[in-house]
């Protein structure tokens, strides 16, 4: 957290790299892809849980050029492409806690954010009052409305039945339910304790509640 931004910058971003880098093949080796994806996952979780600036700088360095290439194919405009790169990485930094690690790789989450922002940028350029925005079509960042119903307790149920049902949950869901309801932690505290993003706590809770409802109600 206390890593100085300048130190990170000087070590990670070197523009000279452009000249030095040999022309790489068009496609990446499968093993490299896997390695990149694992590193990205770790870094995104560090950003989500600890607001880790160094981990973010790693993501930034790995993806900014790729994002720009993606943005140029979608938007075909240098200024807009830069806006897209900045907005995507800004969203990653600010919304990392919404990342759901059970749903897919960090690279997929970031790709969908870029896709959504590109869609909105294009529509905004054409028509200022566009009614359909990307989050309507592809909810990536939105807090799911269902959360509100999931906070309801199972009042009136005898606690042995409930305990039994909770014990039958898959481990990741059981942990979340125990911390939230038996230890009475908040979602944020639960996320901190398990070192996972809040978005993942929410989605596990949602799955657990659906399962519990199916079992005992």
């Amino acid at each position: 957290m206390t890593v100085s931004t300048n130190a990170v910058l000087s070590s990670e971003i070197g523009c000279s790299r452009i000249e030095k880098q040999p022309t790489a093949g068009k496609t990446m080796q499968t093993s490299d892809l896997k390695k990149h994806q694992d590193e990205l996952n770790d870094a995104l979780i560090k950003v989500a849980v600890h607001r880790d600036e160094k981990a973010f700088a790693f993501i930034f360095d790995l993806l900014s050029d790729k994002l720009r290439a993606f943005a140029m194919t979608k938007l075909r405009n240098d200024a807009l492409a830069r806006e897209l790169v900045q907005d995507t990485l800004m969203t990653v930094w600010r919304k990392a806690s919404m990342y759901n690690i059970d749903k897919g790789a960090a690279s997929t989450w970031i790709y969908t954010i870029a896709r959504n922002l590109a869609f909105d940028l294009l529509r905004r350029n054409k028509n200022k009052e566009s009614q359909v925005d990307a989050e309507v079509l592809w909810p990536v960042i939105s807090d799911d409305v269902q959360d509100r119903h999931d906070e309801q307790s199972f009042a009136g149920l005898d606690s042995d039945t409930l305990k039994q049902a909770v014990n039958n949950l898959p481990d990741p869901q059981r942990q979340v339910v125990e911390l939230l309801f038996f230890a009475e932690l908040t979602q944020q505290q639960t996320a901190d304790k398990l070192a996972i993003p809040v978005g993942t706590v929410k989605s596990r809770l949602r799955l657990a509640m659906a399962r519990l409802r199916g079992q005992i109600l």
């Binding site: 790729k66 028509n127 009614q131 079509l137």
Partner: protein, 232 residues
């Protein structure tokens, strides 16, 4: 059970944001009914993300590279001003202003799938087209026409074909034609190769996306052709 789904190509187009607004809305709404297609979309997204991350990025130019330093600083500095909690609260409030979970047709309430909840405020008033058929136009800034169509009990649309392509997503109730029965979630694509005469035994609410008017084909119904824009 849902038997009609968007094609694989259409799902790929959806993931890549290549479809028009109306079609995208119909696909997105279908996903709320269909976990199979939802899973496929997630797989396509993962594949696209792999391509994105393996892409060659050596073409980046020097001026962009130099701008990156400021960009990283700006991003890291920005978060200090805005707390995450306030941000979520704001989006939730805006969300509630834009969204309406039900649509009311002739006094009856129908719950809509999430993406279509944003269309309610853009929906015009219901008008009786012919007989038991009602229509309300939806403005989604698309190139095609999008409508809600309600077939009341016993409602029937005269035999017609399509000069373009029509997408029908069943939202509530059911309807049938010569090819079979359609239930909520069914995503039906019809074009000039299909001639049909849809009817509904009980009632049926659909969301339709049409890129050109219908063309009535049989006997007296051909007299309707001058009015086929009513469906468009």
């Amino acid at each position: 059970m849902i038997q009609h789904h968007p094609s694989q190509n259409m799902l790929i187009g959806f993931v890549n944001a290549d479809l028009s607004n109306g079609t995208s809305l119909a696909v997105s709404a279908h996903l709320e009914f269909c976990s199979e297609c939802q899973k496929q979309v997630e797989q396509i997204e993962a594949r696209m993300a792999e391509q994105f991350i393996s892409a060659d990025d050596t073409s980046a130019d020097l001026s962009f590279c130099e701008a990156k330093e400021d960009m990283l600083k700006a991003i890291l500095a920005s978060a200090k001003d805005e707390t995450h909690g306030a941000d979520v609260a704001r989006s939730r409030k805006t969300d509630e202003l834009l969204r309406n979970s039900e649509i009311i047709v002739n006094g009856q309430r129908f719950e809509l799938p999430r993406p279509l909840q944003y269309t309610v405020k853009q929906t015009g008033s219901w008008q009786q087209v012919i007989g038991e058929i009602w229509r309300a136009p939806v403005n989604v800034d698309g190139v095609e026409r999008t409508n809600y169509i309600m077939m009341e009990k016993g409602g029937r649309i005269a035999e017609h074909t399509h000069t373009g392509t029509e997408i029908t997503l069943v939202l509530a109730g059911s309807f049938s034609d010569e090819q079979g029965d359609y239930v909520p979630g069914d995503f039906i694509v019809t074009d000039g190769t299909v001639k049909h005469q849809p009817y509904s035994k009980d009632q049926c609410l659909c969301f339709t996306v049409l890129d050109k008017p219908l063309h009535f084909t049989s006997g007296m119904a051909r007299l309707l052709n001058p009015f086929s824009h009513l469906f468009f």
